[in-house]
């Protein structure tokens, strides 16, 4: 249902005037806010062309921003593939009939969902080298941290998806003599995966944002190269942060749009089981706001 048309009446003459007055008042307030930001920037000389100029030079992009973006995408992509595998393994583990598989899977998933990702990365990057007695690659520290957290979140999503496939599907599978593994592999997972596709893409947004945590342990991703190092060279931290934020927003908005399109597509073609589609809607709305 669209709230816009239900919450208030179609405006009559008086409501129209009131809405126009409110539009003007809030419009002016918004302009005032923008002007305040502008004046604040001006006061500190942040509009100086020397601070913005670096973004018109190609070397700024090829030396800082694009390599940073490439590292961000690389970490996010590798972590996504690994989290999908991890998520699938633990989702199936939690649905197992054997308590000795179900219980540890549940403990692992719940634990990594509850631990802050930064704490995990700090442990992997600073703590694990003490145990293995060799230095930890910063790339793998980021990727392993991302995989453990996002994989656990995906495991919960997969579990909900698999459970939402109507029980008649697995019963039919058993009736024609399939084994448990076959039912899971050939009946439940394919149907759940289709319904879970939007959730997976939404989780990709979380992953891309979480790679920025790599900055804290000095992984050379977009925030490290494109903001920190760039600003160290040109002294334009505010401008660099705005440009980097714009890049993140474009990338993530595109991913969100793809997720929305996938959701409408799976619902329209009606191939996804109905309950799963409902679970997807609820799931897509509550993607956890991890850093």
């Amino acid at each position: 249902m669209s709230t816009e048309t239900v919450l208030y009446d179609h405006p009559g003459p008086r409501a129209k005037i009131r809405n126009n007055v409110l539009t003007v008042v809030f419009g002016l307030a918004l302009l005032g806010l923008l002007y305040w930001v502008y004046a604040k920037f001006d006061e500190k000389g942040q509009w100086a062309s020397t601070l913005w100029k670096p973004f018109t030079q190609s070397s700024t992009w090829t030396d800082y921003i694009l390599p940073g973006l490439a590292h961000t995408v690389e970490a996010a992509a590798v972590a996504m593939v690994l989290s999908l595998i991890y998520g699938l393994v633990f989702a199936v583990g939690r649905l197992s009939d054997h308590w000795w598989l179900r219980l540890p899977s549940g403990v692992v998933v719940e634990f990594f969902r509850a631990v802050p990702l930064l704490l995990l990365m700090f442990f992997i990057f600073f703590g694990v080298p003490f145990l293995t007695e060799r230095p930890m690659s910063v790339f793998w520290a980021v990727v392993i941290g991302l995989t453990l957290y996002n994989g656990s979140v995906l495991a919960e999503a997969f579990r909900a998806g698999i459970r939402s496939v109507p029980s008649g599907q697995s019963e039919a599978g058993y009736a024609i003599g399939m084994r448990k593994g076959q039912v899971m592999r050939e009946i439940l997972i394919p149907q759940a995966a289709r319904a879970m596709l939007p959730v997976i893409v939404s989780q990709l947004v979380v992953l891309v944002k979480d790679t920025a945590l790599g900055y804290i342990i000095a992984y050379s991703e977009l925030l490290q190269l494109g903001v920190n190092n760039l600003a160290a060279n040109f002294g334009n931290v505010v401008q660099a942060a705005i440009v980097a934020a714009a890049i993140y927003i474009v990338v993530n908005s595109t991913l969100t749009a793809v997720a929305g399109w996938l959701e409408r597509y799976t619902r329209r073609t009606g191939r996804a089981p109905r309950q799963a589609a409902v679970a997807t809607v609820a799931g897509a709305g509550v993607v956890e706001p991890q850093g």
């Binding site: 816009e4 891309v208 925030l223 509550v286 706001p289």
Partner: protein, 224 residues
């Protein structure tokens, strides 16, 4: 567990989690108020407000929190000279609260808006039919029902906020993750116990909190 028999180390641990607690409490309050206001804006009849709410959500939901916190310190404080307290720790604390609040508010807004969508159209139509204004419809009919529908998702947002508050360590606040890093670097022979104590504290607090929100959501669910 020798590490934690040293009172100085216990102090680092306690201070770290106290900062997490303070960051979470203040940010949750601001994010909730801001998020409800933004949600009201996004469903209001005034296009400027709708646009503002949409822009806020799209900007802050799609930017990494690390970048926002980074900007709060290096942009707002260092470059633009926004100082919030004389004490350096307190200043960083409030900068962190700003970053966490504006970021989390975007998620609160979207959750409440999706909660508004779960309220049947008939409720709003009935309210309008007895002559209620937009404000009355929203505050007396829609939001109370929507609020009960979004308890579970709001719960996961606040749990995520608690975990996210570790990111404020980036700008030099000695919260739990920085405290753990410090202890690990000083006690290389006990990294696993240190990690288990810090991670365990989060797990022991947050996992039951998650179940409590689920229980509360079931209990307060609107029967339809």
């Amino acid at each position: 567990m020798d590490v934690f028999s040293d009172p100085a180390n216990v102090d680092v641990y306690v201070t770290g989690f106290l900062w997490i607690l303070k960051l979470t409490a203040a940010s949750a309050l601001f994010a909730l108020v801001l998020g409800v206001l933004l949600a009201a804006m996004r469903v209001s009849p005034v296009p400027v407000l709708r646009g503002f709410g949409t822009a806020w959500v799209n900007i802050f939901r799609n930017t990494p929190l690390t970048l926002i916190i980074f900007f709060c310190y290096f942009g707002l404080f260092s470059t633009l000279g926004v100082s919030l307290a004389d004490d350096i720790d307190l200043n960083n604390y409030w900068l962190g609260v700003i970053g966490l609040s504006v970021y989390t508010a975007a998620f609160v807004c979207e959750t409440i808006r999706s909660g508004v969508n779960t309220v049947p159209a008939g409720q709003a139509e009935a309210a309008r039919a007895i002559g209620m204004s937009f404000r009355q419809t929203l505050t007396m009919i829609i939001l109370p029902q929507a609020g009960r529908a979004v308890i579970a998702p709001l719960g996961s947002i606040f749990i995520a906020l608690t975990k996210n508050s570790t990111i404020v360590g980036t700008i030099g606040l000695a919260e739990a993750s920085s405290a753990m890093k410090e202890l690990i670097n000083a006690n290389g022979d006990a990294v696993v116990p240190i990690f288990l104590v810090f991670a365990g504290t989060f797990a022991v607090v947050l996992i039951p909190t998650g179940y409590a929100f689920g229980w509360l959501a079931n209990r307060l669910a609107v029967k339809r």
